[in-house]
């Protein structure tokens, strides 16, 4: 791509978007509202903190997450092991820190795949209309007819259990959401003057859709992606928990919970701490998504 597509793109007058300025409200740009929005700030801070601890895990983790010490198994939290040890004597704190390097990228990958496949389909579906649109809409109808986790499970059953199939399976369940969202935005924008103008000077459909319409539809996509990341991370750990995702001895958070379940009677720590990690990250993405939505649409309430 020659340019990022944001600079130099004709922007719809009064379009409310995270990156630009707004007409509505008291002349306060969405960016300013976002900065002032405490929920979004807290969310971004939580995500940053957890991503940092995951990135720095090799430096800050007190132990190798896969190092077994059977003599020290199932210990409660202590100075030596802040979160205690699991049934194989592995340090739970180290495993939780390293777990972020598995669970978060898998969830983010699922969102990325869904974006890459869903956004173009939504763009062309809403722009071309006709049979392209009808086909896309009927396909999303069918995909939305499945409860999401069951669809993901069915895909895992068909494709087999690998880390990449987890992300693909979860992505497939959220593609219809992006198709619908983007299509709606395009329908709203396709009749605007700047689209007509581009068409008049002979710009081809692909350029109109990607360089002119997409930049004006970015804000709701970003909001959806943030909220979707929260769900994707929940789904990644859920699939691992039921044995259809990351497999032992992986330090993936859901897999750790499945592992700790069998020793719950004697060791509360093994199931408690990975769960708190999941709650924190997911809460971070939910807060961020909510905050962005408030910044984008000041009328919506928290």
């Amino acid at each position: 791509m020659r340019e990022t597509g944001i600079a130099g793109t004709p922007r719809e007058a009064g379009a409310l978007d995270v990156l630009g300025s707004a007409r509505r409200g008291r002349q306060r740009s969405p960016l300013a509202r976002f900065v002032r929005n405490r929920a979004a700030g807290v969310g971004a801070a939580i995500i940053l903190l957890i991503v940092l601890t995951a990135l720095l895990a090799p430096v800050i983790a007190p132990d190798d997450p896969y190092h077994q010490d059977l003599a020290a198994s199932l210990q409660g939290p202590s100075a030596g092991h802040l979160f205690g040890t699991d049934s194989l004597g592995r340090d739970v704190l180290s495993r939780v820190l390293y777990g972020g390097r598995i669970t978060i990228p898998m969830g983010v990958a699922a969102v990325a795949i869904a974006l890459i496949l869903g956004v173009p389909v939504g763009l062309f579906s809403g722009y071309r209309l006709g049979w392209t649109d009808t086909l896309a809409m009927r396909l999303t109808d069918i995909l939305l007819a499945f409860p999401s986790l069951l669809l993901a499970m069915a895909i895992m059953a068909a494709l087999g259990v690998h880390l990449w199939t987890v992300s693909v399976a979860i992505a497939v369940t959220s593609i219809p959401l992006y198709v619908r969202l983007v299509r709606g935005e395009v329908m709203r924008l396709r009749g605007r003057e700047f689209v007509d103008a581009a068409r008049c000077v002979g710009v081809n459909d692909r350029t109109i859709v990607f360089r002119h319409i997409l930049p004006n539809a970015l804000s709701p996509i970003i909001i959806q992606a943030s909220l979707n990341a929260a769900l994707a991370i929940l789904s990644v750990s859920a699939l691992s928990f039921i044995g259809l995702g990351a497999q032992p001895p992986s330090a993936e958070w859901g897999a750790m919970l499945a592992d700790g379940r069998s020793v719950m009677q004697v060791a509360w720590n093994v199931t408690t701490f990975p769960g708190i990690a999941i709650v924190l990250v997911v809460l971070g993405f939910n807060l961020l998504g909510d905050g962005l939505r408030d910044a984008y649409d000041p009328r919506s309430r928290r």
Binding site: D141, I142, A145, F146, S148, L150, I242, M264, V279, V282
Partner: protein
């Protein structure tokens, strides 16, 4: 209304056909030979060929789908590879167990979620409202199965008040219901609060207050009635979430439902069961959503059907 309902039912047909095609193709998307998969790892090549023929897998794909659909129309979902019993006989009792759990969870989510939402909306920005906003967001961020594990840790293992697993009396239902209901409860609470706040600012509510009606009557009879539509939409969408959550809740609490059964069947590579279970759950979801759509007209007589 009746014409609208009929048209909606007719519109379901292509969706359900699409669902059946996807479910049918599932077996064929798996890497490797489906006949070998069904026959198991120890089968001889002759046995695999026999099974391929018996299952009609040597026929062209469209022909196989036709046979699949004819059987489906007769209520025949095939046989379990593991137990050799009819899939429908295997699924029926488990579906009932899942319906019981999901129904209880839905009831709790609606009653508690709406109450919380109304309390929050009538005391906007109070301590109670802020606390509930935070709690509902945490509720949306908590993995259901982890909440289940924590409840077991506290109420079954520590206090020994409630059973940790299995089905039976009402005491077996309490923890799984709370676990499954939490996500929907938080969603309903948030939606009720938002929708109530919108309505409470409208003039007819002020008029009702000005008439000197008691606050309780204003809230329940005037405001809530008008705030219901978005809440009903969310409740309908939560059915899919409940069916997904049921898989996890049933796994945690060893509840004899369809979700846990499907997890076990995927691990046992019992494809007919998985196909039947996915088909049954998706159909349930689609039908419940149709019923919810039709409910709009009952709640809001202003809605006209084109």
């Amino acid at each position: 209304m009746l014409a609208y309902a009929l048209r909606r039912i007719v519109m379901l047909v292509p969706v359900l056909v699409g669902v059946s095609v996807l479910v049918f193709l599932m077996l064929h998307l798996t890497p490797g030979d489906p006949a070998r998969l069904v026959a198991g790892p120890d089968a001889t090549p002759t046995q695999v060929d026999e099974i391929r023929h018996a299952l009609g897998l040597d026929q062209p794909l469209y022909r196989q789908y036709y046979v699949y659909m004819v059987r489906l129309a007769h209520g025949d979902l095939g046989q379990s590879i593991v137990t050799h019993d009819a899939v429908t006989d295997e699924l029926a009792p488990r579906f009932a167990a899942t319906a019981q759990l999901s129904g209880a969870a839905m009831l709790v989510a609606i009653v508690v979620g709406m109450s919380f939402g109304i309390i929050s909306a009538t005391r906007q920005y109070s301590v109670v409202d802020n606390l509930m906003s935070v709690l509902s967001l945490v509720g949306l961020s908590t993995p259901a199965y982890w909440l289940g594990l924590m409840l077991i840790l506290l109420f079954s293992l520590h206090f020994r008040w409630l059973p940790a697993a299995g089905a039976g009396g009402i005491q077996h239902l309490i923890l799984p219901t709370i676990t499954l209901a939490m996500f929907a409860m938080a969603t309903v609470a948030r939606m009720t609060r938002g929708s109530m706040l919108d309505v409470l600012n409208q003039e007819f509510v002020q008029t009702a207050r000005a008439k000197g009606l008691r606050e309780r009557v204003v809230i329940i009879r005037h405001a809530l009635k008008n705030a219901l539509i978005p809440v009903i939409t969310v409740v309908g969408l939560q059915v899919g979430q409940l069916l997904s959550g049921a898989v996890l809740t049933e796994t945690v609490f060893a509840w004899p439902g369809i979700g846990r059964f499907m997890v076990d069947s995927i691990q046992a590579r019992d494809f007919p069961i998985v196909q039947g279970g996915v088909l049954l759950t998706a159909t349930t979801f689609v039908v419940v959503n149709l019923l919810v759509d039709l409910l709009y007209g009952v709640v809001d007589p202003r809605i006209r059907y084109p």
